[in-house]
Amino acid sequence: MNPIERAKQDWYPIAIVNDPRRPKFYATRVLGRDIVLETKMDGSVSVLSDGEHWKTIEAYDHIWTTPSENPRPLFSIPEASERDRRFVPCGVVHVRCSPLRAVENFLDIAHFPFVHTDILGSEPHTEVVPYKVDIDETKDEVIATQVKFFQPQAAKSANEGIVTEYTYRVPSPMNAILYKTCPTRDDVQDVITLFVQPLDEDNCAVWPWMALYDEESSMADMVEFQQLIFLQDRNILENQIPKRLPIDPKMEIPTRADLTSVAYRRWLKKNGALYGALTHAVDQRAG
């Protein structure tokens, strides 16, 4: 199956549910196709592309669409039904990078001290201690566990540096979910996700979403915290060469700290999920 046909089977986020600022007709793009999201007076929505109706669903505070008549089911986030969490859609940021690059960056912790200095990491605490990566065969997901890292300010609710433990799930090629130590409670984990809308192979729109136990921070503070982190990444993402995610192991040399990235790339390759990927080393000169 070619990459675009495989990509067409998935759901993609295109808007926040019940966003009062969205115009009646909202134009955007998915997989290189122009689409229009119409919001009717009663709040119901529909998506049109070249006269074709695309399916829509609402999940995790976002509206998702797909060009497929028979799409793969949207992945599940059980924590989304825990009523006492605060659910925080963080808006959208457009990035000139492959959607897969955006996901891979989200999975990387080694850059924290250098890009998110004094927030998610700090020098000299730069070591990534060994962690575990598996493919969950039943769900067909990449899972990284026991990822531990010293963080000066792990979340808006953190008052001092803590060693944060992360678990990562990649449940579909363009979505990643992170479970991390909740700074205010021992018994639960905060959930932070990155939902990526592929505009085309070299451009994406990123919709971060959080499900947190944080009773003190204002909504504005929590959204701002996440946007601040992501904007620090954006600059780096837009300057990565090649723009598309290299799948050929000869193209980039990983280290032990990149285990999640290696597993993610292999899993994409195994699944044929290569929209936004670079499959042959010879392409590199084209950047």
């Binding site: 926040i16 966003d19 600022r21 859609p89 963080c90 808006g91 959208v92 940021v93 457009h94 000139r96 200095t117 020098e123 000299p124 204002s218 909504m219 504005a220 503070d221 959204v223 701002e224 946007q227 601040l228 904007l231 620090q232 954006r234 600059n235 837009e238």
Partner: protein, 232 residues
Amino acid sequence: MEFTLYDYALSGNCYKIRLFASILGVDYEKISVEFHPSADHKSEAMLQVSPAGTLPILKTDEMVLSETQAMLFWMAKKFDRSGMWWPKDDNPVAQAFVLQWLGFSGDLTATIGQARLNSLFQTPIDKDKIIKASVVALRRLEAHLTEQSFEQKKFLAGVSPTIADLACFPYVALSGDVGAGFGLEHDNYPAIRNWIYEIKSLPGFIAMPGIFEMHQLKDHEIDPAERFRAKG
């Protein structure tokens, strides 16, 4: 706490005030306002604070300011003991130059600032027109800074930094956020690059997303032989 700042972390205009407060060592209270996605700065509650419906807002017991140029002026007059950031009254020419470049900072917000918002959040703009105007603004700044350098002046209005430099700095430094291929990368503007280094070298300089601090070598990164030579 000397004042309250209604702030948004990704705003270049808010950053001007955070940066100047850091340089001057002034304590203030910061209240985050959700500019995106909820546009809370336009909400009824925020319009009660400042009818301008913009960020930042600087508030004291006596006043509410919505223009960053007025905020920078007030901060310089009130907190700057050196008299460097706003020239003294016996030097009207220097004051006029600072005002001139403060005015230019408004052009930068209206050009690069708008193009950046469009690139980040898809705010509707006439993109071709705004990008062209952004390039014109950068070229004008480059020409001015080049001329200044012929006279050994590293800053917009003279040999020392003024509030005009801080007002112009953020959107120039953030121009890369607009994206590659528009002629807004710093590669083409050597005088602007030197000026950015000068500002990043100021004591009290702080970063924001998209504007990095200059890398400072840690002790363990310095080759011992190099350290010896530097001391010798």
